[in-house]
Amino acid sequence: MARDDARAPVTGKTRLQAAWGSNTGDEVEDIGMAALPKTGEIFNQDYKPWTGTLNPRWMRNWAILRHHLFGVFRKGYRPWGMPTRIFLVIVFIASLTDAALTLLSGILGSPELHQLWGVNRNNLYGHNLGFFPRNILYYPIVTALLVGGVISEDRHHGTSALYFSRPISRFDYTAMKFISVALIQSLIILGSYILFYFSEIIAMGRGWAWIVDTFPIFVAGLIAGILLIFTYTSLGLAMSSISRGRFFPGIGLLAFLFGSKTIAAIISGLFERDILYLLSPYDCLAHVGQALVGTQLSYTQYSWTWSLVSLVLMNGAALYVLASRVSSMEVTRE
């Protein structure tokens, strides 16, 4: 036995046995030593009970939200891919262009620059719903990257079992995933929108009168932005829920957003029929947003309520698909 081995664990047991041991002295020494751990072995498998209490539903939901949200910034939470994180940063910086130029116009005292970039009805609308570059290069791609694996990867990796074997309902699971993705988009889209508005107040020294005048427009733009985030998220998560991979939901969302708009544009150009814009989520969002903010309407021949109804139907269909697919997610087998 390795009593004299320098690597042997220092337990003191041998010495105690020698001093106080109740052995008769007839035993083979090795037998007495057999209970000691082997040299260098420190692993001792003990079951440790836990007597704490579990927090209620809100804490579980907060855990899901935190897992997804903090994963963008820190390790130890949901591992968003590095390209996704980089793209989010790029889009956030790019989305602040108007805020930066507003500050610049204030610093330079250039009314021309301010007229072009400063806060007004068109620019507030454009920040959230302008087509180029924001709704072709920025926000749809951000959504596509975010929704890509949010539910489909739970199917793929089997992590749905991690949720549904816990006291988490399907509704809570879906709702928290939805809110998580929407919140990350909100930080970029609405965060930069709010910074844009406040940059005007700071740069131009706007007073309460201006704020009272423009605040309804600001709120209308905010609502339009929320509608945009909600619609993109519900369409994207519906795609994610019917897939097992990350690629299809992302590319599917982009195909639907851009494809429907392209088809509507082609039909409009060829046959002078604009009604197909109702199939395009972006066109409907733009139409409703224009009506809310009070800018010039793209489709004067149709009421904006048509677009709103179309959006409600699109979101309803997407949420139905999402709910039915999540409800069919397995726990024991996927």
Binding site: F43, Q45, D46, Y47, K48, P49, W50, T51, G52, L54, N55, P56, R57, M59, R60, A63, I64, R66, H67, K75, G76, Y77, R78, P79, E153, H157, G158, T159, S160, A161, L162, Y163, F164, S165, R166, P167, I168, S169, V331, T332, R333, E334
Partner: protein, 334 residues
Amino acid sequence: MNSEFVIQTQDLSKAYGTHVALEKLNIQIPYGATGLLGQNGAGKSTFLKTILGLIQISSGEGQVLGYDVRTQGELIRSHVGYMPEYDALNPGMDGIHQVKYSGELLGMNPIVAMQRAHETLQFVGIGEQRYREIESYSTGMKQATKLACAIIHDPKLVIADEPSNGLDAYSREFMVNTLRLMVKEGERSVMMASHLMEDVERVCDNIVLLHKGKLAAQGKIEDLKAIDKEIEIHVWGKATQLEERLLSDGFKVRREGRVMRITQDSDSIATEILQAAADVGSQIRRLHEYEASLEDLFVAIMENLGYNVKSSDDLLGNPIAARRVDAPEELKEG
């Protein structure tokens, strides 16, 4: 609720349309370790989902830890730890944060969840590997991590679905020992669904056997096996005479060629057999106790009866292929 049982069902049935997945199950599972056995499609997964309160049962009743499976699914899942058969881990996360997240999904405070994650990962033998990303884990480490996720809140009942599936000999041994330790030292109940009878036999005291959605057998493994304790003898010559003699002496004999199995109902049976052999002039070349293994029981049920087993006499009603021996021509009478 009878506190003697960890799981109890009364005429529990589940049907998907016309397909009956579980039919009038009357199961009483006592505290301790229980094996859930059954062929593919026997209804094991449906049963697990039912007792986790994830699917609505069609008729009957069921209680897990005293909670109603119909109405208290969330409470059941708070007090039960579920270890899925399939991968249920995010490969991009490290082990420690994955287990911590599984605790947070139960409502644990993040700090407490982290502390428990360390304890449970230590218990399942992951050690310092806990900081590695899960995608770099071996199958055994993934299984251990899933177990850590299941026991982070020290549940009263752990449901382990194929815990030793795909493991090498060492990892399998460790997993089986860990589960046994939880039962013996932690005084927790374990329900283990597995196809590896040897592992079930080593961990569990009881079994529940499902076949085509029906209860095939339940009870203590020892009880099931004890009924079938037999003496197996290999006879050289005059086997027929010996068989007739034993039958006339009131023994229950099953014979396949030169191999006979005599039901063991007294301590002096060996002497009596030898005496009978001496009287008829037959040689006993081999005499030993034959105890059906769990696998024998399982195969016999599946092949011969399927369900509605009354006793294990029924299970072993058909002759089991017995070992044949080459005897000298002059002794080949029987």
